[in-house]
Symmetry: C2
Subunit: 220 residues, 2 copies
DNA sequence: TAAAGCGGCATTGTATGCAATTCGCCACAT
DNA sequence: ATGTGGCGAATTGCATACAATGCCGCTTTA
């Protein structure tokens, strides 16, 4: 049973957009890869029109970059810009955590605590992939707990744009335990309704996560 | 002389996107207005293709909403969502101000001070339109002073999405003076390099601005 | 009389063909 | 030998034609 109501794409362009976004975020399409309209059209068995539409939407969301009369390429931000994206992400997530401390309902707080406990178990099992999945769910609960749909969207979008530049997250099992300890401070602050503490704890967590990334060092 | 390097649009779709965005942000196209592809194509003397492209990009930026096989409509957020957008905008602008306090160069600080002084003069002249324009420039200086391009883009985008729901900003001249007094606290904190004070002052300013807006009260 | 089903019409989604622009290659001059 | 100019091929931008879907009014039946 999937909690995500992934509705079937109602148009070709929508399906292509989702699939291409997946490939970019997952790393199958590496930063700098060129998105040739004809190649993609042949590959997916459609005409150029829906391909163009999908590419334009990805461009607007920042995953790809386009220039007039040039092929689109998967976004390849400079190291400076990537740092800026991390900084913004840290502040957005911290804001969500702070608002969650003030606004989460009882049910939401219980769900967060339960998710946190599930993550604790996964440390001992030592399953980095499952941990990574549940970690995403953990953060999503905090976005939702802020009770601000616009903020949640912006935070999710920023997270997606940074995602292609993660490499081997939770490579070592020690990181799992550390991550959980950082989460613990966030959860404690949220459950106690302490907004400033929640903000500080989440900001520290994300900045710590940043250090785990291999920051892309290209010059565009 | 324009400080904005408004490059000539290199494609029809780009030109249409800019023009439609202008009309939405300025209020010429009111929230809820339907964007019929054929009508727009006839009106601009082009085919549906570039019109579609422009609409899709506007959809991705949040200014219009689209559903499959339905005409696009100018975004008409619920009152709750609009409040969320204001809240996010307040935090984003506050973050920019805080970072500006730490990172602005000497030249940037002098430019901010100069812009602030120009605004002071406009109070006495009593020119709400010019004040509004220069006010935008004032805030833009702070976005730039944060030295984080991604953050600046997100903040500008949020500001644009909120813009259609402003009505009669700076209606009364008293608001101009109040606004300048709030700016003054922001500028003082930034020039002193006091990040927390800058954050607090800007947050208070934006929340005050929100009160001046006529919040749209529709239920979508 | 009202509700449900059906069919025509209008609008969006997709495919295809043509025009415009960019880039690479080659010749040629310095 | 190297830099510059122009020509050609390939790709994107745009226009147009066709297909598919949603809307709306009508008819029909309970």
């Amino acid at each position: 049973m999937s909690l995500l109501a992934d509705t079937a794409p109602r148009t070709l362009a929508e399906g292509l957009r989702v699939q291409l976004a997946d490939e970019i975020v997952s790393g199958a399409l590496e930063p700098g890869a060129v998105l040739d309209e004809m190649n993609l059209a042949r590959r997916f068995g459609v005409s150029r029109t829906p391909v163009r539409e999908a590419i334009r939407q990805l461009s607007a969301s920042g995953l790809v970059e386009t220039r007039p009369h040039r092929a689109a390429v998967v976004a390849q931000p400079s190291a400076e810009r990537l740092l800026g994206m991390f900084e913004a992400m840290a502040e957005l997530e911290a804001l969500c955590a702070g608002l969650s401390a003030e606004r989460m309902t009882g049910a939401e707080r219980r769900a967060l605590e339960a998710c946190h406990e599930d993550l604790r178990r996964l440390i001992h099992i030592g399953d980095p992939l499952r941990f990574s999945e549940l970690n995403e769910a953990f953060h999503s609960l905090i976005y939702a707990g802020a009770h601000n749909g616009y903020l949640a969207e912006q935070t999710i979008a920023t997270r997606a744009r940074v995602r292609p530049f993660r490499r081997a997250q939770f490579r070592n099992l020690g990181r799992l335990a550390n991550s959980h300890a950082e989460h613990d401070r966030v959860v404690t602050a949220i459950l106690r309704g302490e907004r400033p503490a929640a903000v500080a704890a989440m900001r520290a967590h994300i900045m710590r996560v940043r250090e785990e990334y291999e920051i892309y060092l290209g010059t565009r």
